[in-house]
Subunit: 395 residues, 2 copies
Amino acid sequence: MGRPFDKAQGTPFRFTLRATDGAARLGEFETPHGLVHTPAFMPVGTQGAVKATLHRDLIDSGAEIVLGNTYHLFLRPGDELIARRGGLHRFIGWNRPLLTDSGGFQVFSLAERRTITEEGAEFQSHLDGSRHQLTPERAVDIQARLGSDVAMVLDECLAYPATHEAAAESMQRSVRWASRCRARLERLRAEPPPGVTVSNAGQAQFGIVQGGVFADLRRESADATVAIGFEGYAIGGLSVGEPIDQMYAVVQETAARLPVAAPRYLMGAGTPEDLVECVARGIDMFDCVMPTRNARNGQLFTSQGRINIKNAAQAEDDRPVDPACGCYTCTHHSRAYLRHLYLAGEMTAGALNTLHNLTFYLDTMKRIREAIQLGTFERFRQEFLRLSGDSRTNS
Amino acid sequence: MGRPFDKAQGTPFRFTLRATDGAARLGEFETPHGLVHTPAFMPVGTQGAVKATLHRDLIDSGAEIVLGNTYHLFLRPGDELIARRGGLHRFIGWNRPLLTDSGGFQVFSLAERRTITEEGAEFQSHLDGSRHQLTPERAVDIQARLGSDVAMVLDECLAYPATHEAAAESMQRSVRWASRCRARLERLRAEPPPGVTVSNAGQAQFGIVQGGVFADLRRESADATVAIGFEGYAIGGLSVGEPIDQMYAVVQETAARLPVAAPRYLMGAGTPEDLVECVARGIDMFDCVMPTRNARNGQLFTSQGRINIKNAAQAEDDRPVDPACGCYTCTHHSRAYLRHLYLAGEMTAGALNTLHNLTFYLDTMKRIREAIQLGTFERFRQEFLRLSGDSRTNS
């Protein structure tokens, strides 16, 4: 790691590598709100809630850490209101680990409604058009108020495709921003300035490697980010439309360049197959809206591929979504009933489908961890891909 | 009762009166899917699901019986599909008692899209405009396919206000329909004709007393309905806009005229105060969409009156909705968080609010039963109304 972790600074964040199997890693990290076993999948709780899911269902599904979106929480209900409530954990009633993004990704997605300078980003709220500024320092301050266990630096998220020149400029700016983010966090750790509430003194901070699909830029970004020194490292700017093989290649090369002793987080990915393939390339953490969003649209992941619950094939199918699944949905309800709920527009369709998809994702992570522990990860990977690939088009 | 219950006909339905306190009654009834303690509140599961609620949450809230709407289930997914799945219990994965209405109330609500004759009602589906006929016999057959534990006769639901003449004609037609419904059920019990699947051989059937707000008509209807002979008796045609005192008066007089040895069900009521006031007048069963519908609109019932979760007063309120409530929502989340979820349009707002409101309703029924058992119902009633009335306008 670029700089050794300084315990005196207050974060109990600590990553322990337990086993490896090829490039796949089994580990865990400690946060002020408990332990997270890696490889880990983080359900996305955009506005302080994972859509259609009660916290207890997250716990039942095996979720150990949830992601909150800084952009959304900053706009509504506001980071200062959340700080007055004692931070995001207390506000939402979730006393397990939380990670927050920087808000950058959503701001950059606003397209016409934002401008970017060296100082940071100016943007208009998608809710009421109000104008706001997001600088590296503000991204740190907002996340300090939210009090997540892991905060992310503000980075520039480039659209795909981009030229080498644009990717290089953007990446270098992200490195400068990362440096400003770290400096700001160190200031908050030493003594928060007036107006900044630090809701979680043990908050860790992850840097983000950028550089598009260019190997040289990814190397440069990884080295510069590691030189600044963070508790963990993310790979950003992927899963944005590039070919899947290119994504896997960037993941593999970038992960290999990151410190062994810190967790590696691939942001915004992916399909169940992506999780397996990227664990195989050295990734420890994932987040993605796919299991929750697809659930609400009626697409269910199973050990034998995907099912579209809307399809007529399910109308009189009394089987569970996935006979291999032990979730509440699969142990209590049939495909026929889930299809009926979906077509009838019942909210419980979203709840039951989400519960299943999250369980499928989190079970997959558990099986991945078990396979690494047993040294059978490659066999697991082959079998997983064979089963899911065989029946992608199933029903 | 008009006719003694004939066990040879196969239904294990049996009502036992355990205690009385004034006109209030403590009892229970046995169904093929278990026991229901009365006075009971039945959450409404219109389309085979109580909106925004998983079955396990119903069980946790103390629900012992759920109501399904025949009109909706007949149109989608269809009573024959449900019969092929083994009946409504198996189709929806709820193995506790179920009551179905006859479909009449929804059909009569279609206004321009239905015509009524002595034979029955013709109506157009609100979903696709398709034409259907609902006769007393069909209402029995459809409910036989659904296989609920308690089926309701088809009655004519008159709009309020109505003249004495219109109410009399309509009531007399309802009595003739009730007679046809009972004859049809007896035929199904003896030997179902081809094409009618009886999913639950132990299904009971309740008659419905009509007659608007006219005491003489209610008496005539009660006597005629009891003379036909059913396992239980409902009071229909109330909670349709008449003044509350008039509703209470009709309930009191009608309940007093019904057999002591059968359960009495007030259809479609009501507020928490209505439940207490109508138990005081001899009612044993209730159903109403109010706890679930109001929850989705942000109105929460508490032991100290109603709260509108949208209000600014809740924005920084860290208290639970009701400190006296032990539901998941109240033990895990603050008013501030629930307000945020509601304003952010999160589906979990509906789920958490519904869970609370149903718990409040079902807890109220439990407290009512305890008070009758202890012989303190009148004191309970006074205290309940004082607390809830004091703060109706609270927040």
